[in-house]
Structure formats: C-alpha cells, structure tokens
Symmetry: D2
Subunit: 365 residues, 4 copies
C-alpha cells in the first residue's frame, strides 16, 4: 500500500533512500501567490544536516536543495512543489559484512520480512535521511503559517537524564543540542561525551510550542488536531511516545485541577491555565499548543551486539562508522516540520466548516 504521503488538503509525498541517487519530496496543495523564501528552505535543511558538531555524525552531506517546480518569479503557483537533494556522499564501500545482518534497533529485519528484499547499503527508507523531504516541505508549511500569524518553536527538552530547568528561546540555536537552557546544555554535553566514551548512545525529549493558532481548528472525531499531531510525530523514525499538554501526568491528576477555567481577557475567551496543551476535544482552543515526543537512543552503536542474519544464524555485530551519539538535536527541525505540515493541513480542511463563511467566501470572489 502506498504509505509515503502525509496530509490531505496539504499533502507531502517523500521519496528516496539513504544511499540512492537522491531524496526528495512533492508538496501538493500549496496555495498560489505565496512569496516563497527559498533561503529559509535551505536553512531548514542545514538545521538537520549532519556534521555540525561532535554530537552528530561526521558524515559530510551538502544537502543543497533544488526546487524543480511550482514556483514562478518567486511565488508559488498553486501547483506541486517538487524538491530534491542529490546524495553527494555515496560511499561505494564494501557492505558484504553487514549486508545480510539485521542490526538491532533498526528496521532491517522488519523491512526484510515485509518486502523480502533489502537495500543493505544503509537504512534505505528507514534512514534518517528520509526526513530531508519532510524538512524541505516543513519549511514551506512554516512560511504559510507565518502568513496566518502562527509561530512555532521546537527544542530539546531533555538529553538522557538531563532536562532543561529554564527557558531562553534565544539560547536554542546557540548550543549544538538545541536546548533553551545553557546550563542544561553543558551538562547534557558532558553526559554525551560519557556515552561516546562508553561506545553508547543517548535518547531524549523534544518539546514543541505553537502560538497564534486560531480556535476551532481540527476535526472533532477521528481527525482531531492532537491525533493528527500524534501520527505525524510517531511517523518520525525514533519517536516512541507523544503527549499533549500535561500528557501522561494527567493520569494521576484530578479533574478540579486538570480542567482549565475559562475567563475573559481583553474581550476574548481565555483559559487561566493550559493543562490541555491548547486542544480541547480535538480542536485548537486559541491557547498555546504544547506537545512533547520521546526519542530513543540511536540504535547504531559500536559495542558488540548479539543478532542474527538472513540465514537464521546468530551473529555478533559491531557498527562502526559515522553515527550520531544522539539524534535529538537534529530531530528538532523534523518535529517542527511535521507539526507545521499537520497544522497547515488542518487549517485548510477547516475552511468548509460553516455555511455562512462558505457563502461569504464565494460571494466575495
């Protein structure tokens, strides 16, 4: 079944393997007349690019994005925007020793079970490089959101056991871990150096905040805004959990505390607290949207690991080479991108919710 597309009214379709000729995305449903800042797209690419610090893989990829369609004289035309990155750094190395082995924590085994075949040169579609298309599309979605006054910010909330204790938005881009707390970032770096020393890897938590989302966006039953965000997040390779607002903490709380009281402020309805995380009944409530995702430790580690091969023989594998000791910092922009894509899709889908607004839309036209 075709499963490489995400979204309906605003839909992205990614393609490409980690060691193939190129990777890319087709973004369909981009409205016409948007002045597109292509530098912003490259900036997004650069945020997920490897080789930026010792905490990300040393593999060098220019990851220069090429826009192939859908933009004319600096503006979107309403037609699909196709974007592509050539795989510059295709090692023609000898894969014979790992070609038939299932790496623990990777999708090698499940991919082989599903398709009966495997591109053994790397993770194939299950590689982190698949997110190149997501991030390029996300950079477009972000620009659409900005036109609508919606702003988005994702960052590292925790690396291993080190969580942030303060929040300074300016700090996020200053440290290599994308943490909004310089102190925590330092501690996290020390923790990562320790992990590297032990030939091990670390996980973490990413948090995302969205401001300015109009109220009433999202569908009340299956296509709840938070349900779509959950799917978007769990579709990212290493993500193992999603929570919105107070998330799992609600389980031990009481209704009297967890309910957010409504009040009036400057003539508009507000909530006094935001345990809900900006979504009530699957629809945005006008408040800040806050959610978190759990990211597992990088499965590629150089310690010897027990595993089996395609012939059903038990083996020991040591994965050497270029791997991130933690993927959280590079995944931040992926989270931001997928969230932006989800929100744009929901905003567009919401436009036919009321008869009076539809009449108004077409009369005006």
């Amino acid at each position: 079944m075709a499963g490489s597309s995400f979204g309906e009214a605003f839909r992205i379709s990614t393609w490409g393997e980690s060691h193939g000729a190129a990777l890319g995305v087709v973004v369909d449903g981009v409205p016409a007349g948007l002045r597109l800042d292509t530098n912003r797209i490259q900036e997004f690419m650069d945020r997920r690019k490897p080789g930026q610090s010792k905490f990300t893989t040393a593999r060098k990829e220019a990851d220069a994005i090429e826009i192939l369609s859908g933009v004319f004289e600096g503006k979107t035309t309403g037609t699909p925007i196709s974007m592509m990155v050539r795989n510059a750094d295709q090692h023609s190395k000898d894969y014979s020793n790992i070609a038939e082995i299932f790496r623990p924590g990777h999708a090698d085994y499940t991919f082989y079970e599903k398709y009966g075949i495997r591109d053994y040169r790397g993770g194939g579609r299950s590689s982190g490089r698949e997110t190149i298309g997501r991030v390029a599309a996300g950079a477009i979605a972000i620009q659409i959101l900005e036109e609508l006054g919606v702003e988005m910010c994702a960052y590292t909330k925790a690396i291993g056991p080190v969580a942030i204790a303060s929040f300074d938005a300016d700090e996020i881009r200053k440290n290599p871990l994308a943490m909004p707390d310089a102190e925590a970032a330092k501690k996290a770096q020390a923790y990562l150096e320790d992990c590297i020393g032990r030939q091990d890897s670390a996980g973490g938590v990413i948090e995302c905040r969205v401001k300015g989302m109009p109220a009433g966006v999202g569908e009340p039953v299956f296509d709840k805004l938070d349900a779509s965000l959950a799917k978007a997040m769990l579709s990212i390779g290493a993500v193992k959990g999603f929570e919105i607002g107070d998330g799992f903490a609600v389980a031990a709380n009481n209704g009297s505390v967890n309910n957010d009281a409504f009040c009036m402020q400057d003539g508009t309805v507000k909530k006094e607290t935001n345990h809900a995380g900006g979504v009530l009944g699957g629809m945005s409530d006008g408040d800040e949207i806050i959610f978190r995702v759990a990211v597992k430790p990088t499965p590629s580690i150089s310690q010897p690991q027990k595993t089996v091969n395609v012939h059903g023989e038990e083996q020991t594998i040591e994965i050497h080479g270029r791997h991130d000791p933690v993927i959280v910092p590079r995944a931040v922009v992926v989270v931001e991108s997928m969230a932006a894509i989800t929100l744009v899709d929901a905003l567009f889908s919401n436009m036919s919710a009321r008869m009076d607004r539809i009449v108004d839309f077409y009369q005006k036209k």
Copy 2:
C-alpha cells in the same frame, strides 16, 4: 472537512450525537465469508455501557445494537455493515441554565468556535457516546484478527496514583475497574471513593497488548503501525498521551540497553527483550505489541468551576447529574476496539507489498 472516518482498506465511519435519535457506524471493507458472532458485538457494547458500577455514570442505556446490513445468513457479504443504537434515555430536561455556558475541560468552546453553533443538550459528537460506533466496529475487527491468530487484551494499568503491581488476565473482567491486579483494584476503588467524596474525578492509564501479529505489517514511512495506533488512540476523547514499548522511558536510556538483541528460537527470529514494543521502523516485528495511553480525569465535576458563556460573561458552573468519576474502565474496550481496527487496516493494506505474493494470490484464484 469530513473527519468522521478512520482507516482506508478497512474503514469505519461513525455518526450520531449523545442526545440525538441514535448513534451508529458504517464499517466498510469487511471481507466476505466471515462468520460473524453478533453476540460478541453486544458484549463489546455492554463493556462500554454506563451504569455498571458506582464508578460509572448511573445513566441507564440499554445500548442494544441493531445490525442493518452487510450480513446474510450469519456471514458477512463483503458489503458495508451498518450498525445502530437508539438513544433510549433522552431526557427532555431543561437545558436553559447550561445551554450557553462553556464547560471547562469539555469541547463546548472549541465546537462553538469551529461551527458557530452548539448542540447544548450534551457533548454532541464530543460525547463519550460517540464511541458506541467504534466499539461495535471494533468487535468485528477483533473477530477478523482472531481468524488470523491475532489476540488482543487491554486493561487498566493505573487509576490516579494507583498502578498495578502484578498481572492476572483473568482478573480484568472480575473487578469494575478492569485492572489485572485485584489488590490494586481495591486500592483504586478506595481512591475513587475519596474522589467522589471530594466532588472530584480521576484519570488513569490503559495498556494494550497484542499477540500473534505477523512480522512486517505497517508501512515504513508515514503510515507506520505505531503512528497509526497513536492517531487511533489520540482520537479517543480524553486521551492525552501515547507511548509504545518503553515509551517516554527511552529518553533516559542508552542504546546498548534499549536495543533488543535478535536471537534464534525454534528456528525463527526472536528478540531477547522487547523495549521496542513489537514495532521496528513502523513495521511489526513479530513480538508482542505493547502500548499505553494516558486518560485525563473526567471533566464533568460537581464542584463550582469558573467559566464564561457564549455572550462573553464570566460565570460559575456546577455540573450535577450522572457522570463517571473516572472514565478509564469504560474506555478500555474503546482502546481495544480502535487498536483492532488499526491492525486490521494495516494487515489488509500490507497484502500488496511483494510482487511474488501478488502473483501467487491471483494465480491461485
């Protein structure tokens, strides 16, 4: 935008409001020739039915399911199965005092913002009664899974601060809280009585386990099996979080521990541990699938709460009447149902993954 359907190859479309004439579901994509046990469907309905203990709403609803199509001489015909429950207990009470007030923690405000209108007689589509259709459909999905050797079991893992410490599957249906630990169930009941005494409500955690899922099911990019499960779960009214396998605990773990080593057992590939929760790279790995959801405390409480009305006036509301102090026990069957629907959809979608199997399928025919 139409958002009342879930699934592609196996698709359910629910309809109906809490205080309307009826609620129901259309289940499309049910394969022909399945001998359908309709008693099982009613059993599922009864598991989510209110009025079964003092820990669920006292509202009495027979919730007798009627099958309107798609079944002939005890077997499914391949055509849509339409099922319906009449709303027996429609109070014609006076809603004037709450008709214009936004209840905290409910979707009243967001629904009003989205649609400019509100069915003030209850939660409308955002009511827990919407899940009637999901559960009826889930009871069909479960029977399909059983034909394929897949078994599913959901239960209450925690109520408020009380978590299970042991697991006895037989215990689940014996206590009113659906907990697999009789001791914990007793403690949880005491906690809930305390909540009721304080005019308050409680939340909790539901866990679901799936055995027998073949390996390689789920799509490797956006339609990952766990991503689809996450969406299914977050689409349930009060759910605020989802995690698979070790979930949020992976964040503080190391790769050397979190990676599940592969080994051979009775000639087949197995994992020595199951931190992954049965899904690798979005595809089932043949191991048990384990996931959890966080359920928020029932928002309807009889304590006075601060809120506003549709005219932008601040108000105090006290919600009396029949409400569950905790919705977790009744939500267990909803979790089970949505999981079953998601898995059936994934199993069907997976059938065209390999050319050799497609050729074999059609040659045989």
Copy 3:
C-alpha cells in the same frame, strides 16, 4: 477495500442491500448552520421511488426517509448526517429457483467471483435501491449549492431511439419520463409500450445542466471537475458512458470550431459558444456545465435468456416480477444527486487554492 464512500471534503458513505433491513447513507462534511429543508429530501426520495407509472416497477415502497443525526433545531450542526429508509416491502418469497443462477446483464456473476458469496434475494448492493442513500445525500448537496447560487437540472434526453427536439423545463416533472419535450415524451411512451409488449426493455440518455458555478473550481490535474463527474456518473449502476460539452462529437470537429472564443459581456469574461460544456482544463469556466450519460436497457426482462448457474451448468432463465421497462426516468434524480455531491466536494476543496484568500478567511474570523 472499502469502496462505499464518495468525495473527500464532502463525503457520502452508503450502505444497505435491496432486501436487507434498511438502506442509508452517512453524509460527512456538511457545513454547520445550513437551514435544512427535510421535505426537499423526501421529495428527492419520491422522485426515485418505484411504482409511479406503468413505466417503473410496480413494487410499492414508501421509502420514507428518517434523519438520525447531524441536525438540531432545523439546522445542520457540522456533524455527520445519517439517514435511513427501512425496507418495507421485503417479500419472503421462494428464491430457490434463481438463488444459484447468474442473471445476464446483472452483477450476480462478478459479485460471486469477487466475494465467493451472494445475497440471492436481489441485487444486494448492486441493486438500484443502493441509490437511496445517494439521493438523500444529493438533496442536501443541492441545498448547499442553492445557498451558493448554483442551480442544477437533469432530465431525460432520449429513451431508446426517441430523443427530445425541444426544451421546456416545466415539462420535465409533468410527464412520467422526465422529458422536457411533451411530444417526445408521447413518442417515447409508445416506444416503451412496444418494448413491454415484446417483453423487452429500453435504455436512454440523461442530460444535466448546472448554472451559476463560479469559475476556477476543480483541480487542474487528476481531480478535474469533469473527471470527478465522470467517476460519479459511471458509479451509477447502468451507466455506460459519459460526455461533457460536445463530448464524442468533438472527435470529428476542428479546433477552429470547437474552441470557444472569449468575449467581454457586462464587464465579465464570457464564452461566445460552449462546446467545452463549462469546463476548461478541469476547472469550471463560469459557463453552464452540460454533460450527458448513457443508460443501458434494464437487464431484467421476462424473455427466456441463456445463462449458467454457480455449478457451471447452462440454464435458461425467465425473470418475472416487478421490473422497470426503462430505468432512465428514475435515474434522473440520481444523476442530479451525484452531480450535486461532486460539485459541493469540488467547491469545498477549492477554498485553499490562494494564499490571499486563506489569509483573508482567517483574519476575518
């Protein structure tokens, strides 16, 4: 695969078999705040109802529509509208002589090949009664279109060899054949009487005209407005062809004639002719939309016909009972309904085509 739904932003899902308990439809994506005239829905039902003249089956079905959800205090609420008709006239007759025989021109054989099972009491899902749900949904779509100033009119263009020679809209509802030409209607009736005398059946052509459709609706590539209309029309049981504007006649024409010249009229762009039928490049051009469908002769005839049964034995079958000698007149409202549904879906999907209008939509809100 689930295939009982049509439309995306405005989606209908039909269910029910000809001889089951009931038939119905779930209409999802109806905007909130539409004042719904339910009498109009019953009027639509009555237009497709059998037993209205000797040219339609004598079978009596009240076909009283029941609205089960989605409407509150006379207005739509934005939630799915579920509608149902109970099968009043379920003959408990003896089917043993036809239960195992494949009727020529019917879907008995293909249904059996696909599902390995057959509801032998009638056409099941392939019965004309499946269109009950389409027509009920169409009556809602028509009312949405009217709010937007779009008007629709379908009629019989030809019965067998008898085509209309003039057009009088008022005449359509006056004769039992839904022809806009009283003279042709008389001739067609004579032709049908002759067919009945010969134990035979007739086909025909239905034409549909849409006025007031705003320009630019429809998508330029796969979801062209005329492509969606073509699918909608061919999804109606007996339809074997679709053409828009000059249709098949374009094949023998020249570009110089077939191109419609643009001109200015009252300050707006118009076409001097309408060979295109109101659609250019898949998008509405503001002109009248005109299309036609070819309807095959009713396959149920009482003449002896050669066929085979499920055991692979050759048989002779005579289909007695209540059958329309021509289904064209009753199919007119089905064509109108499916066209309305298609247009509403396209109008809603079109709302996110331009960035400036999206900004305007949300700023206003």
Copy 4:
C-alpha cells in the same frame, strides 16, 4: 486541495510545468521484487515524445527519464519510485505578447480564475507535458500487469471523420497515427494535411483493450472499475468523453440484445457477446475490457481567434509556433498508461475482499 495524485493502493503523484526545470512523478505502492525493465520506461516516454512526424509538434525534447529511487540491483524495493525528465528545450523567448491573453480552448482563463496567477510561458500544469509522469508510471504499471497475465493495447480508432474499418495489431506502431488499419491511416493523414493547410486542428477517438483481467476486480459501488477508468481518462487534458463496451449505443438498444448471455466454455463461465465491455456492476467479468475516449482538436491553432486578456480587453490572438495538428497519436500511450495504473490499483485493492483468502495469505507467509 492537493489534486496531483491518482490511485490509493498504487498511487502516482505527478509534478512539473511545461517550461519549468523538470517534470516527474513519484510512484508509491510498487510491490517489492519486480524486475524492472527500465528500457521499457524509456520506450513509453518515446511513444509520447514530440517531433516524431509532421503530425506532432516539431519541438525537440529528448525526454530522457532518470530513475532516482525505489530500484536496487534491477529490482523494485517496495519504496517509492521517483522519476524525472529535465526540460531540455526551454525557450527563453519573449512571452510578452501572450503573457496576458487567455488562449481559447486552453486552461489559461480557468487557471487564472482559480489561482490568481499564471505561468504564462506555456500551459504550466495544464500542458500535455504533465503526462510525462503518467507515462513513466504507466510503464511500471504495465510491467506489473504482465506479471499477472494482463495485457493491454490502445490505438487510434478515429482521426476526425476517418475511423478504422479493420484491425491489425501489428500495424499500430507502423504508422505515425497509431491506427491498426493502414488504409484508414492513409486517409487520416490526408485529412490532417488538409487541416494543416487550413491552419486548423483535428480530434479523434482512442480505443483501449485489456485481456486477461481476472474476474471480480473493482468495487461494486463508488469505486467501480469503469468509474475509476472514466475518471482516469477524463483526467487527461483533451478528453471530453468516455464509454465502455457499447457505450452510448446502449441507449437505443433493447435489453434482449444488450444483455450478454452466459455460457460454459472449457469449464469456465464465458459471455457469448461482450456488449458490457468486460465490466458488470463495476467488477471485471473476465472478458476483454474495451473502452473508448473522445479527444478534442488541439486548441492551439494559428488562425486568428477572438479572445480577451487579463485586463478584460477583447483581443485577437494567433498562436504560432510548434503545435500538434492532432494530439490523438501521442495520447494513445497516455490512455494506455492511465488504464494500466487504474487496473493495478484495483487489483491490489481487491486482495482483502474475502476472509478465506486473507487467512490463506497470512498463513502461508
């Protein structure tokens, strides 16, 4: 709304404008393990390539296809296949005289109405070059069909008033008009030369035949096989009509003739005639599938034509340059491609129709 994708289980997404950097397609849902003959893809590209005879545009485009993903060591991997053609022949000519004029018969006006913007360098997405992606994808679909024993053949049935009188499959590729009748091809060429002399263009009819389709494929309600084919065909730029089997001729026929009698032949069910065109009730009946499409005359002609510009001023336009006097011959491969894509999608979707076959599929695995 995103409208650049076609198909569900087998889905293509095309992108690119006639005068942009490149055009291409992402084909998702290709099963793994198909040995892909890439020469066949280029052959398909060459069949639609311009500049092959005086009856097609003289514009020279190499249209060399590049495969960017989804194929490894000559076999498909189950991941999306991305293919691209660079636009070699991008004239940097002066468009100032046509940039603001709406060409009659083209989508210029409707595109402008929809998007408020226009890529005036050519037809943009409404150009025939958009079909490059369809044909590349079609060449893959054809190879899948061949693995399943399904063979497909499309050809020109008529050019203007000249229709074929005989059928010789070998002749189709021998004449520049793709006609299976050498005599008719000669007459049609004479007719076209006459059209060229008159600065005019011609239309025609394309017929497509499919052999070996298993019975029971297609869905019985909205996703009927012929309904999906109709949509696929009307989604091709210049197509104005679709008919299956006897098509519009059924309207004047009687049931006794139009019904195809079933008989037994070599132990299997056959039809004695094929008025139905291989589809009954929306499902394939095992017989040859036959359908036709009407193609309008090329709208670009060099005669002066009356039109208007974006400023609402009436103008006269003469479209000089490189244009096909008839697009039928080059559209034949597009018809074949879209039909193949539709059939593959239907075959894949059909695999979950029966419970016993699903059980068998997974048990075997």
